[in-house]
Structure formats: structure tokens, C-alpha cells
Amino acid sequence: MHSLTNIWNLGIKELRSLGHDPVLLGLIVFAFSYAIYSLATGMSYELRNASIAIVDEDRSRLSGNLVAALLPPNFRPPEQIASGELDQRLDDGRDTFILDIPPKFQADVSAGRAPAVQVNIDATAVLQAGIGASDIQQILTGEAAKFYYNGLDRQPDPPVSLRPRIAFNDNLESSWFMGVAWLINIVTMLAIVLSGAAVIREREHGTLDHLLVMPLSPFEIAMAKVWANGLVIMIAAGLSLTVVVRGMLGLPATGSFALFMVSVMLYLFFATAVGLYLGTIARSMPQFGLLFILVVLPMILLSGGYTPLESMPRGLQIAMQAVPSTHFVKIAQAILFRGAGIDIIWPNLAVVAGVGGLLFALALSRFRISVSQTGG
């Protein structure tokens, strides 16, 4: 009971300190609002504004039709270039695709000689090249067929057609995915920096010594930091989800908001524990900075919010299963996109809580040792 009131009182103290740091508060507001919005809308995984150029050696109606069919928003307005420019533009990465339409193309199509269009692809732009190539193929084939069969009776239907239906995100709106992914990343970064820096700052200013000579256990001191910093981030994340991701980016309100917030809470427990732990390991801020990068970058890049987990090497996939971020990305996607309930996500929640608890225990055990390291 005493313990609970101590945790409560110390936590209020943490909140007051935070309230007196306008720069940090400003940064938090910026990160959860404008940063998420611009990161989500600025770039998409879909084929958007792919830059394409045309070497049109035919200059016919058909070649004009083909070019006109490559429409925004998938493609930038195609640029007509001379065949000599082709290599240089690809080298420079200015265009991802360059079509080469040969001379007498229209005549050959009309005559049924099935001429070839060359599609040059900068395959180092892996993602765009992969998605765009099949898109271009479909558009060109369809457009050519329209032209060819226009004169004839009718275009033959294929015997079997494939009808794709996209579940959970009909238009494959990638700003939803990206908004949620960066929301998670910012939660991770902020929780680690806030709690870790709080430990280092208290130690530098001697207030940690002070707390440790009072009748307080390290558990109470640490727990206060967890709940206070966690609460601020949770409120920010909740607002950001409601106002930015759902309001401005338009993610439909599938899934339980309450369940998501509970998951955020558990995840914050883990992330603040990471910060506390790093704060007790690092002897100085530069060291903390390096550790921060070493820990946060893999959490951002490899937990499935940036590139798909399935394509990573097996060993790495298994290793990332031990990192709660991976599970939290799954949880967020399951709840927010697929409307999944606790029955589906509980194993992931269990991992987040388990690893969080383990790290928290580790940080506690190092707390007192780390204070004595600065002694002298």
C-alpha cells in the first residue's frame, strides 16, 4: 500500500518535470501530429508517380494511346525522350521505367505480327520496379488489344478470369499502414529516450542518490517513471490515432480502440523498461546515444512495420520473434485493420508483457550498481 502511494507521488513528480520542459513537449506534439502525417502521406508503397519515359520511334495513334494510358496517380506524365538518352537517364536514376516503342509498331500490330515493346526497368529501385512492371504489362496489353480488336468483331474473353478482392483495405491505401507503423516507431523512440534520459539526468544531477537514501525501493522509483512517461505517451498515441490516423488519414474505425490502448500500455511497459535498462548501462550521454541507435534502428526496420517479415532470413525472423516490437506491429495490424479481438492477439500480448517484465527486472537489478559507478 505504501508502495503504491510512493509510486503515485513520485510519478506526479515526473509529470511535473515534464510539464516544465516546453521543448520536449513541443517535440512530442510535433512527432505525434505533423511528423506522422507527413511520413504517412509523403511516400507510399503503392505505385505512385513512378517516373517513366518513352522512346517513341513510331509516333502513331497506337503509340499515343499506349502513352496516354499510363495515367496518374500511378505514373508521372510520361516524358518523350530520344533513344540516345535512355542509358544515361537510367544510370542517373531519373526514370524507373523507359518504354521503347519500335518504328512501324502500329502497322505491325494491325497486321497481326505481334511486335515487341521494350520495357527497360531500373531494377535497383526494387520495390517500385517489381510492382510497376506487372502494372505496365497489363496496361499495354489491354490497350493494344483494344486497338487491335476494335476493327474486328469482338475481343475474346479469357476462358478463366481472376478477380482479386482486397480485404481490410480495399484501395490498398498505404498511408493507413504507414501512419500506424510510424505511430508505433515514435512510441518506441520516445519511450526509450524519455525513460533512459530520465535515469541519466537524475544520476547527473544527484537526485537519484537522494531518492535511493530515502525509504524507497528501486522498484518504486522505476515504476513511477514507467507509469508517468507511459501515461503521457499513451495519451499522445491515443489522440494521434483518433485525430491523425483515423481523422486525417481516414483509417476506418474497425477494431476495438480500448483493446488497442491496452496493448499500447503493455508495449510501453516494455519500451520504457528498455530505456531504463540502457540508462543504467550507459555511463554518459554519447554512450546512451550509440546504444539507442543500436537498439532502436532494428526495432524500426525489422519488426515488420517497414519491410515484410516473411522475406527476412529464417534466423533473423526467429530472432525478431523475441523482440516485442514485432508482436506489437502484428497486434496493431490485427486490431486496427482486421478488427481482431483478444482471442486472436493474446499470444502476442503475452510475449510483449513477458519480455517487458524480464527487462524491467534486469533494469532494477542494475539500478543500484549503476548509481555506485558514478561515485567517487
Binding site: S17, H20, E46, S51, G93, M285, L291, L301, Y306, G376
Partner: protein, 916 residues
């Protein structure tokens, strides 16, 4: 020599403010040349601001100030007189570099003043001889005791033969012996350079008695000037301290009483503190060496010794904050145990540094601590009321603690430490930097606690008059206790005049020799015939490679001596490269799918087989109905589901149009897009096979053919694009963060002052500090290229020269980003956060890592084109995978190079050459 009528510094109506605080309030004053001038007064009365202005560290706000007969606000004059002034800031060795050795520190300053190698060596030898630091030449500065640090600081200040030496509290926190030696040194240096003026700020009145001329200051104003005798005569006081108190305006003196200590009544019971053979080792450094102590209940026990002699460590062990390496400590007869919360309720502790929460008010601080000690609300209320009353805090109840004057803050700290009515108080230098009146008020409280409430007090201090008030004192030196007795007994035992003399006698005995320093030097001839410093008459040259190298060398040595930082940045980079090189990939494989086959005919199975045969897909257990389809998609284990309608087989045989549905999980749009592409491909191949079965023709006729040519990357493997790009990412984050922290660290720790007071200019400072980090990044670059080629098997097909040149320019820009961020931030936390966010976000999202920058729009596109990583990623991919030569890469190299002057120029503009 003295165009201003014999004065070296002349202030006319100078006012200096920090926010709403007036540090100097309309001060007009002449400091005479060629003498030792003392500025006396408590902390925060404007002494440091005045000295800082005279040294050119701080920027003059209002009023006029002339130094060496010229306007100090004029940058040209400042840079001209800069080599004639030496400035030693407040704090023990705060302008020194802890990782550098004694000789390296002096060498650094000598380089800043443009001395040649031969001259440097000669001067360093001479100064080390003179100060007795010769035996410690190679010891890192952070391992020096407080007194030695100050001697080293003096060496650094004297390296360029200044005409005006400015010392800001040079002896605060230094033991009595070192203090005496320090002043002897100054006397010797003045004897050798008779024209030299010295201005000193000090809080020790005993010291000030020795100076030629004094300025007594309070609350930003000058109270009186003149020599010590004149001040004492003026105030009609016997000592300078009394004179100072008498000079204060009546208001500040109100309620002042000299401290009287009634004799102690012995109390029954076990001693409050007992220590036997208490020892603390940090590595092989013995901080506390077999200390024995016994402190009676109700006793005021003093602890005296220099900074770093082990006082704080001993106190921390006694509170249980630090487990002892050896020996035992008993509090009230019970062994100290870190986990024993009960004992902690009986002890109050005030640590050396300010241990209140600055952002809380006085009331909030008291209430918080009362709650933490679980004092019931009612009792807490009356207790706080009592404390506020007896500690005179009522007027400040709702002020923030960090805005209080130091004296009041220390009273609050004490109130906080006794809020739970402890039986024992452990106070670590509670009165450092506090003015005489506030100190006496503080002691009145202590006396009341000890004599009237029976509280045992264990206090450490630097002030001899405070030590003399204790019932007993211990003198500590280098981890050992030299003597413990009542102050009068100590004086008697050594047969000396004062307690200070007695301590010095003990310290000299411990050091094994008397006056180790002074003997040899008095005879040293005045440095005659030494060639004058170059450029003495005129301003120093605007650019000097030597000064730039001084900073580069200093930074390099610091990096090399922090093995943790060095190793983390090197192996951390390689580790991340390994993980990301394999981990960031857009080669989607092993997509899981399941089939809802409502037809179950040979025709439907033919269709499904098309999917089962590729490495892209992993087939899972079939689905039976819609409910199953929904459930399986929801739990995220399937990427897509193929649904084949009933009658599919019949329709195919009849050549009636049939339709297959594919349900794709759209939660991760990029994966869904890829799935869609693969599905279309597999479907097309099914159609071809179907056509073959039905008509015998191997192809489906199309009016055109599409010939795709995957340039540069025939296998379409992510790794050939990702590995070169990851190199670019890792050359960005770590150098930018380390660079930003390195400069902000100088701001936070105080060594930035060297930029303000030495001839080094901002360009030399910035570029000098940048060089080692560029070097470090280039080492990382080389090892990452080796990793790419030999481990990842991603060869450099194009120009390695262009790639390396690009990396060099790029590293200059990434460290440049760090420089720019450091110009705006003042704390390391902000620098870390700023550098982290401002590099990670644009690099991952807008620099072409996922999507080509040409496909971005609006703000994103502007960020992309305005970020150096964009161009280096192109160079890296170009040189590695696109097999581009120097000529083809020249355009991007040029664009990248444009960032260098922009970033350095902005950092230059935003970094002030003076403090506020």
C-alpha cells in the same frame, strides 16, 4: 601600457541580465593595472559575470567596458588583445579535457596560441617543473585531485605569457595546502612577469586578505573598493569577513546573529555511526582506504579534505548508497544495509550537488518528501508548517526551487532532509558557494538541531571557520584519515596558530615533504631572453592550421580513450550492416495462402497446382467455408486465399467463362501489391497451360509482346540495391549523433569557453572537431565496403574511386548535420533526440531507400531533394550495382558537395563566439 589612466579594465554603467535576473546592475568601476585584484562576495552577485565580460567570454549587453584601453565590444579589439589575456573559468578544471593527460592539455592550449613544436616542449617542461606537476605529466586530467587540476589550469592559462590573468574562484573546493601552494605559485609567476595584472574572484575571505586591492560586491552592485586594511577600517571590523557583513545593506543583515555553539551534553546509547576498516575500490583505484570512525549521538562531526579525497564516497557508504568493498559500517548499532528501509527513516541526507527537484516549488518539494517518508497527512501538515516557520521559507513557498538564491535553496535542502525528523543528518558540503550570512544562518539551524533536538550531524566542509565549530573534525587525504580530534586539540597538537595551519602541517607530513614545489623555483631566473610570441603586437592570423589541428588532435585523443564509444561505433556499425543487409529486403517469398475449393474437380486442382509449385507461396491447410475464410484472414496467418466456385470444372470444360476469386490481406499494402502482381503472373501461366491442353498451341496469342529488361540487377535481388544503400544509412546516423553530442558536451561541461577566450576561430573549432569524426566514419566506410564485397558478395562494379570520394564528401555532410543540430541545442538529451529524429525519419522515408525520390510529391519531395543521403544512395548504388564510372557519377558528387559549404556555413553562423 595603461591608456586608461593606470586601469586595466574600466566599466561604465555596465548592466548584465540573464532573463529577468540582473547579475550586474549599473556598475561603474576601474580595476588598477599591475596588481592582484580580488572580487569578493557570495555566489551569484555578479563576480563571474564581471570577469567573463572582461575576458570577452560574455557578450556586453548595456554600458561600456574598456580592456587594455580598447572597447571590448569591438570584435577586432577583442581578437587583438586575446593573446594578452588568460582566463580560468569557475569549476575544477572545467576548461580542461579529462581524457587528455596533463602534458597533452597544456600542449593543446599552446597550439591554440600558435606556438611551434620546439617552443611548446620547452614551455611545457618549464611550467610542469615550476608547478611540481612534472611527475604526473602523463596522468589523465580527470584523475587529478582538485588542487592539481587547478595547478594544471594555471599552467594552461600561463602558457602564452599573458599580461592579464583572470581567475574565477580558482581555489573553491581545493584543500588548504593546495590552496596555499596555488597562491605561492601566483606570487612566483608575478615575480617573473612583474607587469602582469591578476583579477581573482573568491569566496574565501582569508585569501582575500592577501590581495592588493579588493572589490566587495553584493546583488550586482559594488559595495566598496580598496585594500583589505581600508575595507576593515571603513567598516570598523577586525576581520574581512566581519567587514563584509558590515558593508551589506541593512536589509540583508536583518536578523543576523553570530553563531554561538552551546556545549554538548553527552547522550546515552550506542554511538550513532561506527566504521571499521571501511574501504572502497573502483577498479584498482582506492577511493577510501580503511577508514575508522566513531561518532557519538548528538555530536556535530566535521569532515575536511580536498575534493576527490574520498569524503563523499565515505558518506555514501555510510548511507548505504554504495556498498563497501571491505570493512563494516554501523548506524545506531546496526550494520548498514542498502535494502533496510527502516534505517533510512532515521537518517537525513543532503548530497553535494543540488538534490531538490528544481521544477517543483518549495511547497511541492516539502510535500513530496513528506509523502515519500509516509508521514500521515495531518502530521505532515503541521511538520511542514513548523519547518517553513523555523527555516524562514514562508516568503518563497510558491517559488520554483531552481529559481531560489543559493542560500535559501540550501536551507530548503536542509528542511527537506529533516522533514521526517531523522535522528542523524549526513550533509555533504552543504555550504559550498553560500555567502557568509546565509552560512551562519544555516549553522544556527544545525546548532538548534544538534543541541536542542539531539540530532547527530555529520558534515563535510571546506571552510575552516565551520570546521572550527564542530565538536570533532576528521582530516581526510587520499582516502585515509590523517587525524581526528576536537579542533582546539588539533591546533594544540601541531603547535600551530590556526586550524588551517594545523591541517597544512598534517597534509605536508602526509605528502612526505615540505614545500615540494616552491624550493626549486624561487631561484629560477626570470625567463629572460625568451623570444616574444609571434604576433604579439598585432591580431593573430585569421586562420591557422595549427589551431585547427589542436582541436582535431584533442578530439581524436578523446575518442581513442573512450573504448566503449569507439568499439560501439565500429562494431555496432558492422553489426547493423549485417542485420540490415540481410534483413531489409523486398524479395517477397514464402507467402502463405490457403484454398477454398467449392468445386473439387480435376480442373480446380489443376488451377491450384499452379500456385503450389513456386517458391513464392507456401500452401496451408484448405478452408471449408466463408466463416473459415474470414477467421483465417483475420488472424493474419494468411496472405491470401484462392476461392474456386462450384461448377468451375464444368464451365472450363464447356468453355463458358469462369471466374476465380482471390482474397488478399490488404493490411500491409506493399505486400498486397506484390501478391497481386504474383497472382496475375501465375494466372497467366495457368491460361497458357490451359490453352495448351485445349488447343495444343503453346502460347496465347496477344497483339503485342512485352519484352522486359531488368537493368543492373538481372536476378532482381534486393540485396544488390539494399547493401549499398545500408552503407549510406549507417554513415549517416552514427556520425551525425556523435558529432552533435561532441559539441553540445563542450557546452554542457564548460570547455566551450576555450573557443571564447583563445584565438581559435569558429571555423577552426568546428572543422577541427569534425575531422576525427570524418576519419572515424571513413574507417567504418572501408570496413562496410569490405563486408559488402566479401560477405554479401555484392561487388563494386563501377568506380571505387568515385564511391570513396563520394563517401568522404558524404561523411563531411553527415557530421555537418550533427554540427548544425549542435548549434541549436544546449543539452545532450535534446541533441540526441534532435539528431536521432531529424536523420532517421527523412533517411528511411524520403531519400530513395524504398521509393525513388522522383516519385515523391510536395513536402516529401522537397525534403528528399534537400537531404544529402539522397545523392549518396544514388552514388553508392551506381558505383556498386549499376557499374557506373567516375564521369557518370560526377553529377551526383557535385550535388553532394554543394551541401558541405551550406551545412558548415550555417553551423558557423549559428555558433556564437561569445556567451550570453
Amino acid at each position: 601600457m595603461s591608456p586608461d589612466g593606470g586601469s586595466i579594465v574600466r566599466l561604465t554603467g555596465v548592466t548584465h541580465c540573464y532573463g529577468s535576473t540582473r547579475a550586474l546592475d549599473d556598475v561603474s568601476l576601474d580595476l588598477p593595472a599591475g596588481r592582484v585584484i580580488g572580487l569578493i562576495g557570495p555566489d551569484g552577485v555578479g563576480k563571474s559575470s564581471l570577469l567573463g565580460l572582461a575576458a570577452g567570454v560574455r557578450k556586453l549587453q548595456t554600458g561600456a567596458m574598456r580592456v587594455f584601453g580598447g572597447d571590448i565590444a569591438d570584435a577586432r579589439h577583442r581578437s587583438a588583445i586575446c593573446p594578452r589575456i588568460a582566463y580560468m573559468p569557475q569549476g575544477l578544471g572545467s576548461n580542461l579535457y579529462g581524457e587528455l593527460s596533463v602534458a597533452e592539455n597544456i600542449d593543446f592550449f599552446a597550439r591554440l596560441f600558435g606556438q611551434s613544436a620546439g617552443e611548446r616542449a620547452a614551455r611545457i617542461d618549464e611550467l610542469l617543473q615550476a608547478t611540481g606537476l612534472e611527475p604526473f605529466r602523463d596522468r589523465p586530467a580527470r584523475n587529478l585531485s582538485g588542487g592539481m587540476k587547478q595547478k594544471l589550469g594555471l599552467c594552461c592559462a600561463l602558457i602564452h605569457d599573458p599580461d592579464f590573468l583572470i581567475l574565477d574562484e580558482p581555489t573553491t573546493g581545493v584543500d588548504p595546502l593546495s590552496r596555499r601552494q596555488f597562491w605561492e605559485l601566483i606570487d612566483i609567476m608575478r615575480a617573473r612577469r612583474p607587469g602582469m595584472s591578476v583579477a581573482v574572484a573568491t569566496a574565501y575571505m582569508e585569501e582575500a586578505e592577501q590581495f592588493d586591492w579588493l572589490v566587495a560586491m553584493n546583488a550586482g552592485r559594488v559595495l566598496a573598493t580598496g585594500d583589505a586594511a581600508a575595507l576593515k577600517a571603513h567598516a570598523g571590523a577586525a576581520t574581512l569577513e566581519e567587514a563584509f557583513i558590515a558593508l551589506l545593506p541593512g536589509e540583508a543583515r536583518k536578523g543576523y546573529h553570530a553563531v554561538v555553539i552551546p556545549p554538548r551534553q553527552a547522550q546515552p546509547g550506542a554511538p550513532a555511526i561506527v566504521a571499521h576498516g571501511l574501504t572502497q575500490r573502483f577498479g584498482n583505484f582506492v577511493a577510501v582506504d580503511h577508514v575508522d570512525l566513531e561518532i557519538e549521538r548528538g555530536e556535530i562531526f566535521g569532515f575536511v579534505g580536498s575534493n576527490g579525497c574520498g569524503k563523499t564516497t565515505t558518506m555514501k557508504m555510510l548511507t548505504g548508497l554504495l556498498p563497501a568493498t571491505e570493512g563494516e559500517a554501523l548506524l545506531f548499532g546496526r550494520a548498514v544495509d542498502a535494502t533496510d528501509l527502516e534505517t533510512r527513516r532515521r537518517v537525513g541526507y543532503m548530497s553535494q550537488s543540488f538534490s531538490l527537484y528544481g521544477e517543483l516549488t518549495v511547497r511541492q518539494n516539502l510535500e513530496l518528501h513528506a509523502r515519500l517518508f509516509q508521514i500521515p497527512a495531518e502530521r505532515a501538515k503541521t511538520r511542514i508548517a513548523t519547518l517553513v516557520d523555523s527555516f524562514h521559507l514562508a516568503a518563497h513557498l510558491d517559488e520554483r526551487a531552481d529559481r531560489l538564491p543559493l542560500g535559501i535553496r540550501q536551507r530548503l535542502s536542509l528542511a527537506v532532509a529533516v522533514v521526517h525528523e531523522p535522528e542523524m543528518l549526513i550533509l555533504d558540503e552543504p555550504t559550498s558557494g553560500v555567502d557568509p550570512i546565509a552560512r551562519d544562518e544555516f549553522w544556527a539551524l544545525l546548532v538548534d538541531l544538534s543541541r536542542n533536538q539531539g540530532v547527530t550531524i555529520f558534515i563535510s566542509t571546506h571552510f575552516m571557520n565551520e570546521a572550527a565549530r564542530c565538536d570533532r573534525v576528521s582530516l581526510m587525504h587520499a582516502g585515509r584519515i590523517l587525524a581526528t580530534a576536537a579542533p582546539a586539540a588539533l591546533v594544540k597538537a601541531r603547535g600551530s596558530a590556526t586550524l588551517e595551519d594545523a591541517f597544512i602541517a598534517y597534509l605536508e607530513e602526509a605528502a612526505g615533504q615540505a614545500h615540494p614545489v616552491i624550493d626549486g623555483i624561487a631561484a629560477t631566473p626570470v625567463a629572460a631572453g625568451r623570444e616574444p610570441l609571434p604576433g604579439r603586437a598585432s591580431s593573430p592570423a585569421w586562420f591557422s592550421a595549427r589551431r585547427l589541428i589542436a582541436y582535431a588532435r584533442c578530439e581524436m585523443l578523446q575518442i581513442l580513450r573512450d573504448p566503449v564509444r569507439l568499439a560501439t561505433s565500429f562494431f555496432g556499425t558492422l553489426l547493423l550492416m549485417l542485420v540490415f543487409g540481410y534483413g531489409i529486403t523486398f524479395d517477397v517469398e514464402h507467402l502463405t495462402f490457403a484454398v477454398l475449393d467449392r468445386d473439387q474437380t480435376p480442373q480446380s486442382r489443376e488451377y491450384i497446382e499452379e500456385f503450389a509449385d513456386t517458391r513464392y507461396f507456401d500452401q496451408q491447410a484448405p478452408i471449408l467455408d466463408y466463416a473459415g475464410l474470414n477467421g483465417r484472414l483475420k488472424d493474419g496467418k494468411l496472405s491470401f486465399v484462392i476461392e474456386i466456385p462450384s461448377n468451375f470444372g464444368r464451365d472450363v470444360k464447356r468453355r463458358a467463362p469462369a471466374e476465380v476469386s482471390a482474397w488478399i490481406d490488404g493490411a500491409m499494402p506493399f505486400r498486397a501489391e506484390t501478391v497481386l502482381g504474383y497472382l496475375n503472373g501465375v494466372h497467366a501461366s495457368y491460361l497458357t497451360h490451359l490453352n495448351l491442353r485445349m488447343t495444343g498451341s503453346p502460347t496465347v496469342w496477344q497483339p503485342i509482346q512485352i519484352e522486359t529488361r531488368d537493368r543492373f540487377n538481372q536476378d532482381f535481388k534486393s540485396i544488390y540495391a539494399m547493401v549499398p544503400m545500408v552503407i549510406g544509412l549507417l554513415l549517416l546516423f552514427i556520425p551525425a549523433i556523435l558529432m552533435a553530442l561532441s559539441i553540445v558536451r563542450e557546452k554542457e561541461l564548460g570547455s566551450i569557453v576555450n573557443l571564447y577566450v583563445t584565438p581559435v576561430n569558429r571555423f577552426e573549432f568546428l572543422f577541427g572537431k569534425q575531422l576525427p569524426y570524418v576519419g572515424l566514419a571513413m574507417v567504418n566506410y572501408a570496413s562496410m565496403v569490405a563486408l559488402a564485397v566479401f560477405l554479401f558478395q555484392v561487388p563494386v562494379k563501377g568506380s571505387l574511386l568515385a564511391l570513396t570520394l563520394g563517401a568522404l564528401i558524404y561523411c563531411i555532410t553527415t557530421t555537418g548535420i550533427g554540427l548544425l543540430i549542435s548549434a541549436f541545442t544546449n543539452t545532450q538529451v535534446a541533441a540526441l533526440f534532435g539528431a536521432g529524429i531529424l536523420t532517421i525519419m527523412p533517411a528511411l522515408q524520403f531519400s530513395g531507400l524504398i521509393m525513388p525520390v522522383s516519385s515523391l510529391t510536395g513536402v516529401a519531395s522537397a525534403i528528399g531533394y534537400g537531404f544529402p543521403a539522397t545523392y549518396f544512395l544514388k552514388i553508392s548504388v551506381g558505383a556498386f550495382t549499376k557499374a557506373l564510372g567516375f564521369a557518370e557519377l560526377a553529377g551526383n558528387l557535385l550535388k553532394l558537395a554543394c551541401f558541405v559549404p551550406v551545412l558548415l556555413g550555417l553551423s558557423f553562423l549559428f555558433l556564437p563566439k561569445q556567451d550570453r
